[in-house]
């Protein structure tokens, strides 16, 4: 064990740090874009019949191919990884924002309009708070996926926990795979736990008791 720590400890810490940075930055960017696009789509649901299928088709491009192609275009820069991961992180946030807003009971939209809210006020005071649990669920999904996909950074020489996993698979060394995979799993658990806490915070109090209103 001590030998293991001596050999890999520092490198592992560094890789974990890089991995975390990739995940946090990409999820943050993906969340921001996904939220905005999701809101825009919810304003014009007719667009979504065009946009959502296109988006879900693009979602099927394997990370391997996407990062590979981006790499050939952009080169070995963190931007390549960040762009790819942000795009993937964006999908679930966007979808959940859109459905979260559309699934709000129409009576709330009606009363919000009836109270004389502008569409911006309605968005911020009624729609977003009510859709927030669904949006955060999207964020959670995005985070879990991103932790896993960030491994691909190693594919283009940009470090992270993927380094260990790639080395392990190519040199027939299960220990190395585990050294990479276990911290990745722990990272995911920690981040999702934080999001679960956030979820509790953002769920409007009145919604928690499963009230019927």
């Amino acid at each position: 064990m001590r030998e293991l720590i001596n050999t890999y400890g520092l490198a592992l810490l560094k890789a974990l740090g890089i991995h975390t940075v990739y995940v946090l930055v990409s999820v943050a960017i993906g969340f921001a874009i996904g939220l905005i696009v999701g809101i825009l789509l919810s304003r014009k649901p007719s667009w979504s019949t065009v946009v959502l299928p296109i988006v879900s088709i693009f979602q099927t491009i394997p990370g391997l191919v996407f990062i590979g192609v981006l790499f050939i275009w952009i080169g070995m820069k963190p931007a390549t990884v960040i762009i790819a991961l942000s795009v993937y992180a964006m999908f679930p946030v966007m979808k959940n924002t859109y459905t979260g807003i559309l699934e709000i009971d129409p009576k709330y939209i009606d009363t919000a309009n009836g109270c004389g809210m502008t569409s911006t006020q309605r968005l911020f005071q009624v729609e977003l708070p009510l859709a927030m649990p669904t949006i955060i669920a999207g964020l959670r999904m995005a985070t879990v996926y991103t932790v896993s996909w960030a491994v691909l950074a190693a594919m283009i020489g940009l470090g992270g926990l993927g380094d260990f996993i790639y080395q392990g698979t190519y040199t027939n060394n299960n220990l190395l795979i585990l050294i990479g995979a276990i911290p990745a799993a722990i990272l995911a658990v920690v981040l999702t736990s934080i999001i679960d806490l956030l979820q509790k915070k953002v769920t409007p109090k009145g919604l928690k008791k499963g009230g019927r209103s």
């Binding site: 491009i61 790499f71 795979i177």
Partner: protein, 503 residues
């Protein structure tokens, strides 16, 4: 790219989808009904999701062996998260009033679940299934690493060769599969919604689908057995692919044996498939140095003096792997250090020791394997040996190494001496003037029982002894990777040219 490959891909996705539904929905129901264990289940599927595909498949292969089974298990595990989560959420979201009413009408717990709660939770559950299936299409790409076939192998090679055409075609097929599956699932969902959660219809459709999948299993898995053929896996490098095809043509030309080349996988996984308890292939091309370091986990320094590495590895294989090495094929696919033409000219580099002066201005890049801390033919020992001090190091996936050096991510790299892409990328290999790298002689690694079952095999394989020089190999891989010729043609032409087979 043949329809066969696309069907294979689809097959893995559907079978895995089927099993993940079969497992995921009950797990989702349990998580809903018993929040205690439910929390554990939800966390567990979360964690499963974070294990990178490459690692997960590698681990499963240890138990399940190479091939589609491993891929299907892997995708099934990955698909659990959206299905379990959405089943649980969907059930939780069913209006309390409705649950109350069902309870008030005296429905039993299971009656409530099947007649009220599940039908109402169906849209959310189905969204989970759709997500799972669409994701699975992407995950199945990793099948190429463990001999599962499908579109992944094509994509990997296309990235490596920067073959945008093939890359687009492969990706487009994935998208089309996704669209078709998604649309048909959408139709089904609409249909179910129209029937207002008519459970019988839902179940009927699901059962029909299930039976269809079960019928597909034996068809999709076919070709896994067969005792009267010599089985090889396809490699994920042109060199392996060419050599395995040479074996096929030569053996089939000179004997009555049938040689089958199955799906692509990496060297490491191929080796695992040969030496495991239930070997699924008979032989592979390898290199004495690779077997020594990667598989035996030993080092060049472990080779006793007075014997050659080849002999040492052969002895070891007979003793521990129930296999042996056959032939030295002639080419020596050792590591070589290469620099870009530009750098070579600028600094007038000919030998590795010439790098000493200029290393601090250069970045060294290689696949992650080379940076591994185990073994002596690796980066650390190498720079120590030559006293090099590079500005920076970069590890990169083998499939992207040549792309990376072409776009200037690094200037010095470690290559296989016989890689045709060296020629294409205009790399200049530097002479290993102080002999750091040992020879890596190409040789066949064959199981002993295979030799017993196919007595003529040994003799035929030996015909290739010393026939293929490094230059031959570079030319052949160049023809495949750069000129885009098929491996079959290249392998066959070579054998004909050497007079080993008749037309």
């Amino acid at each position: 790219m043949s329809a066969q490959i696309i069907l294979e891909h689809l097959f893995m996705v559907l079978v895995a989808g089927f099993f993940s539904i079969l497992i995921g929905i009950p797990l989702g129901i349990i998580s809903y009904q018993r929040p205690g264990p439910g929390k554990v289940i939800l966390k567990a599927v979360d964690v499963l999701q974070t294990i990178p595909a490459l690692a997960l498949l590698g681990i499963i292969m240890v138990f399940a062996g190479a091939g589609k089974t491993t891929v299907i298990i892997g995708i099934t595990l990955y698909s659990l998260l959206p299905i379990v989560q959405n089943t649980c959420i969907g059930l939780q979201q069913v209006d309390d009033g409705v649950k109350d009413a069902a309870r008030g009408m005296g429905m039993s717990r299971s009656g409530r679940l099947f007649r009220v709660e599940l039908p109402l939770a169906f849209p959310t559950m189905f969204t989970g299934i759709r997500i799972a299936i669409v994701n699975a299409i992407g995950t199945a790409v990793f099948a190429a690493y463990v001999g599962g076939g499908g579109i992944g192998g094509i994509l990997n090679q296309a990235i490596r060769n920067k073959d945008m055409g093939t890359l687009m075609k492969g990706t487009a097929s994935l998208m089309i599969i996704a669209v078709i599956l998604d649309l048909s699932m959408g139709l089904y969902e609409k249909h179910v919604k129209k029937s207002h959660g008519n459970t019988r219809q839902m179940v009927t459709a699901a059962v029909v689908l299930g039976i269809a999948v079960l019928i597909m299993i034996p068809i999709g898995m076919k070709g896994n057995s067969g005792t009267n053929e010599i089985v090889l896996y396809d490699g994920n490098y042109s060199e392996t692919q060419i050599m395995h095809r040479m074996v096929k043509y030569l053996v089939e030309d000179q004997t009555d044996y049938t040689v089958t080349i199955k799906d692509q996988m990496t060297q490491v996984n191929n080796f695992k498939c040969m030496v495991g308890n239930d070997p699924s292939c008979d032989m592979m091309i390898s290199y004495d140095g690779t077997i020594l370091t990667t598989f035996m986990h030993q080092d060049t320094s472990d080779v006793p003096s007075g014997t050659t590495m080849w002999k040492y590895v052969d002895d070891y294989s007979r003793k521990h792997y129930d296999s042996q090495l056959i032939g030295k094929l002639g080419f020596d696919n050792t590591y070589a250090i290469a620099v870009t033409k530009e750098v070579a000219d600028k600094y007038n580099l000919k030998k590795v020791s010439d790098l000493q002066r200029v290393a601090p201005q250069l970045t060294f890049g290689a696949e992650s394997e080379f940076f591994s801390r185990e073994g002596s033919m690796k980066y650390e020992p190498f720079v120590k040996f030559y006293g090099l001090n590079f500005k920076n190091t970069v590890s990169v996936d083998t499939s992207l190494k040549y792309n990376a050096i072409e776009n200037g991510s690094f200037q010095v790299t470690e290559v296989y001496a016989t890689d045709g892409l060296n020629k294409k990328a205009g790399l200049v290999t530097l002479e290993d003037d102080r002999h750091f790298f040992p020879d890596y002689y190409g040789t066949f690694f064959v199981r002993n029982d295979t030799l017993k079952r196919f007595p003529e095999l040994k003799k035929v394989l030996r015909e290739l002894n010393g026939q293929i020089s490094n230059e031959d190999m570079v030319n052949m891989t160049y023809q495949v990777d750069v000129e885009g010729k098929s491996v079959d043609t290249v392998a066959r032409n070579f054998l004909i040219k050497k007079g080993l087979i008749s037309k």
